[in-house]
Amino acid sequence: MDERLTDLMNGELDGTNSAEQSRELRSRLASDPDARRHFEQLESVGRVLAEADEVPPPESLREAIMQVVEERESRRLRAPGLLARAREFFEPRRSLRPAFAFAGGVAVGLCLFVVLSAALPHAVPGDAGRLYGTMGGRCYIDDEVRFEVTGASGTAGIRYCAESVTVGLSLESDSEVLVVLSYDEELDYDGFRAFQPGDHAMRVVGHRAELTHSGTRDYDLYFTDDTESRHPMRLSVFESGRRVFESTVPPGRE
């Protein structure tokens, strides 16, 4: 099939052909059954796509988005308030600067102590060679998400401490379940720890941590997040390949 004929066909399908080009196409198709068949198939591609049903998004999607938006908003609104209160507290007390300097020195000393203590290595099973610890910063913890389905139950909660993000999972199931945590691309997966022995398997695909679990066990999953915001995660539980539970795990509050 020559390039001219291909252009005429595609122009006709996209409605960009002039009347003269349409006539030329019709004439060429009339004398070329293979080309006519080809053109009819291309036309039907458009029809089959146009007839495809629109797929409704999950009903809870809008609510889930708004929940994250409102959490972000409330954090944003709280932050300036805290700063303002801090300024209010410190500014009138300029005469107390030596005392503040002393207190600051003590605080720096304490921080150094915490950092040096945290730097002592302790290996984490399941991800040998990586070190974990906190920098002693402010932590944010929210209510855990609980699920209970036939044959399985558990909780999931996120704890943010400075750049370290820990997801605690407590799982109990009669048979094998797949627990999937989908996380924001700004988070980096760092490893996991199972607190009791037994059958389990963890793997990460893209931004999904997939834990195959059976029995009763607690896990910690470790991530780093070097952004200023905190991110929720999506928890999904599958039994025999079928999703039986899904919820957003909030990222923790002050």
């Binding site: 291909t6 595609n10 399908l13 996209d14 009819e40 198939q41 291309l42 036309e43 039907s44 591609v45 458009g46 089959v48 796509l49 146009a50 007839e51 495809a52 049903d53 629109e54 797929v55 409704p56 998004p57 999950p58 999607l61 809008r62 889930a64 988005i65 708004m66 994250v68 938006v69 409102e70 972000r72 908003e73 797949l178 989908s182 924001d184 691309e185 695909v205 893209g206 931004h207 997939e210 999506r234 999904s236 599958f238 390949g241 079928r242 999703r243």
Partner: protein, 178 residues
């Protein structure tokens, strides 16, 4: 008639009800575009959520001289492309099994035509798939597609030509006779 400019302004000023209305307006097309590009219901839902969180985060940098829908779809298409490319690199057999089972069974059982379309779309390269999806599912012009994907109209046209041909072959291979 919704005054979109006013909605955007209100959402930018922190009016969450206005932002929710924006989601209401664009949720379905964004979700459907993502669904047709990544060919998985759950992944499309995740992408849609990410898209609107990014829209909310970046509303302050949106320039009103550009069309809002182009801006939203651009974010959506980029998210879906990035997702597909990551998934293409990292997809493993086990995940395919999970995705496929959680995918169609609940919501799309029995819709053979949809399976046929999804299968054929998945068979063509992402660059062509995106253009085909924007053209046929969102009914956009060459110019609008070019704005969203960030390519010249001429390239849109050639990708659409090739994409349509590849899709025809994929459908025929799957037993579609037209």
């Amino acid at each position: 008639m919704v005054d979109e400019a006013r909605l955007i302004e209100r959402a930018r000023d922190g009016d969450n009800r206005a932002f929710e209305t924006i989601i209401e307006l664009y949720e379905r097309p964004v979700f459907n575009a993502a669904y047709r590009i990544v060919a998985n219901y759950e992944d499309a839902a995740d992408i849609t959520q990410t898209v609107f969180l990014k829209v909310h985060q970046k509303l302050g940098s949106y320039k009103p001289q550009y069309k809002f829908f182009s801006w939203v779809y651009r974010i959506a298409v980029n998210e879906a492309i990035n997702f597909s490319k990551r998934r293409g690199r990292e997809r493993s057999l086990a995940e395919v099994e999970v995705a496929d089972e959680s995918d169609g069974v609940d919501r799309l059982a029995g819709i053979a035509r949809d399976d046929l379309i999804q299968g054929a779309l998945r068979a063509i390269k992402i660059d062509y798939r995106v253009v085909v999806v924007l053209k046929y599912f969102l009914e956009m012009s060459y110019r609008e597609i070019g704005e969203i994907v960030g390519i010249p109209e001429k390239t849109v046209k050639s990708r659409l030509f090739t994409g349509r041909e590849l899709l025809r072959r994929a459908l025929v291979q799957r037993g579609y006779s037209g």
